[in-house]
Symmetry: C2
Subunit: 369 residues, 2 copies
């Protein structure tokens, strides 16, 4: 049974407006999932996310398996109950975080052995364990375990990673017992031929959706966009396509045009904590001297609770003085901005107006803009 | 004209249920004002405070005069517009913060000269300047400039501080041009005779309300409670009494019984950021090992958004891992708890049931409690 339905298509691009039915939410796509690494979206209350009609968040299997550990999450009755989040949850498989441990991990055909930097504890993550964890989490969308090589890497290393990811995808598919959906992940770096070779056998495994992995791991922006578009074209139109870990508001629009349906990214929260706000006029780096006396909101067109009340000058003063509220308020604005931006994209597709939606500038906003 | 009205009195104590009319809000007393030092209540959105029916917050003249400075606040049209807060604001006079600069300040009859530790800039704060600043802020309640000696201090030093505070109170009263209410501050340390001597001439100046200053600056708890009760008894029944910088939930109830109407304190937000939660069963220090697997909420009787969704185990995990959401969620709970606690106190007075209201324990909460 297909849980994904395409409701309308953009005539001028590969963009589509769809609906992904999950156990806890009906996810309207294209959709951005705020990142809740340890079960909390940093600086943003779940009440706010619900109020803003956020249907799904991402949580990280790697972090949750280390702390608080699967036993407590089982005892709580699953990840929804443990987190206190009632809508959809997508978990990554833990693969990406483990790979980034570099010298602290060793990949074999069986799985990946690693030592957690947090406490030195040893773990062995296999496709079967990644499935068991996510089944016990009882998440709405689970991800197959994959191997994501860093950038740059030798072609041979990327080819091997794609090959082992494929074998692990098969084991993941076989081991997964639900209750949610399971997505496979396409690897192959920036090499179109490797991506193409990996796609057919991956699709044969019959996942509920497909992720484009190994993107935005350090490549230049034009390579990210090229390989995203190429990869999306390899994936079946009738299944949701998920671009992992991307990106800026402009990246999201470009990727939607390439046919991507789901996104997650730490940018709105991480950049918010660092003092960067996304706006329709570009990025506002709030500490900048130019905002010292600027009594206009972060984005005059934004309806978020921060823009409705506070000025750039107010936020700048709090940020410069390291007031605890400052990173919170910027994170709030950014997450709202991302969710609103995706709603605008969805409405534009449904209304046949995506072609006229302007890409928000990525440069810094000018004074008084 | 008296802006304060006593609506009902507790037969068994000096507690009263009242209403203080200000330009931006009708403040139901006894009332707790969350502290917004730099114009933000750390970790708590203003939307939440409004939703929780918080009528007034405190902001610090000292911090605001240094940054962003009075010019910008004037340009914004006052402190309400600058902060984005629509209800009542009370500002302290700046005196308390300046006094705590110790070696960096020098008190003369004219005023207090100080160097700001933040940037080394030199300032001269007089009663007239403190009034001008608060008038330009256009706050609902302004405070006279006073001298608050530290604890312990020689009796002679406290007597001199009380005497100069009285002369500055007179100058404050004369200089203040509104638009809000102006409160005088009673000093005299833990010496009842000094407090009594200072009270009569202070009351003669005819303030809109009176604060008990110089309390909770380091004295033992029993001294705080004794001198609070004694001082409250010196102040007129028909004016609001404000105990500055106090205290725990138990302190608030005890002080209400002594006749105090208004409070402010950094405890709920500061302790929240440090991982301490106030509950009806005592204080929860969330990092404690005993909460590792505790799936109950911070306070099972609390209706705050944190207790409605999250467990102690969830919050502990976030706190131990220094997740940005953890101090925010504990601050939210604490401020909600304080506001609810004051509502319970008000309802108890109005319902003639204050005597049966139990003082919440101040010790740490036991496992599973």
């Amino acid at each position: 049974m297909n849980s994904f339905r395409v409701d309308s298509e953009d005539p001028a691009s590969s963009a589509r407006r769809g609906t992904l039915e999950t156990r806890h939410a009906s996810i309207e796509t294209p959709c951005f999932l705020p990142v809740g690494t340890r079960g909390a979206v940093k600086g943003v209350e779940f009440d706010r996310l619900e109020e803003w009609d956020c249907r799904a968040v991402l949580a990280n299997t790697y972090h949750l398996m280390l702390r608080p550990g699967i036993d407590l999450i089982r005892r709580a009755g699953g990840l929804h109950a443990f987190m206190g989040w009632r809508r959809a949850i997508l978990t990554d498989s833990g693969g990406f975080q483990v790979m980034s441990l570099a010298s602290r991990r060793r990949i074999t055909e069986e799985g990946v052995e690693f030592r957690a930097p947090e406490d030195g504890s040893r773990h062995f993550l296999t496709p079967e364990l990644a499935m068991e964890l996510q089944s016990d989490f009882a998440v709405d969308i689970a991800m197959a375990l994959d191997v994501c090589p860093p950038f740059p890497a030798e072609r041979e290393e990327i080819a091997q990673a794609a090959a082992i990811s494929l074998r692990w995808a098969e084991r993941s598919r076989r081991a997964f017992a639900g209750p949610g959906l399971l997505f496979g992940i396409l690897q192959g770096g920036t090499h179109e031929d490797l991506r193409r070779e990996a796609a057919a056998p991956l699709l044969d495994l019959g996942f509920d959706g497909y992720a484009i992995g190994g993107v935005a791991v350090g490549e230049p922006k034009d390579a990210i966009r090229r390989i995203t578009a190429f990869s999306a074209g390899l994936l079946p139109k009738e299944r949701p396509r998920y671009l992992m870990g991307v990106g800026t508001p402009a990246d999201l629009l470009e990727s939607v045009r390439a046919g991507v349906d789901l996104f997650d990214c730490v940018l709105p929260t991480r950049h918010g904590r660092m003092g960067h706000a996304y706006t329709g006029h570009g990025e506002v780096t709030i500490k900048h001297e130019r905002f010292r006396s600027d009594l206009s909101p972060l984005d005059p067109d934004c309806a978020c609770p921060v823009c409705r009340r506070h000025s750039r000058a107010y936020l700048r003063n709090l940020f410069v003085l390291k007031d605890f509220s400052a990173p919170m308020l910027l994170s709030l604005h950014n997450v709202f901005f991302y969710l609103s931006w995706m709603r605008r994209i969805r409405d534009a597709i449904a209304g046949g107006a995506l072609a006229s939606l302007e890409v928000p500038p990525e440069e810094k906003v000018a004074l008084g803009a």
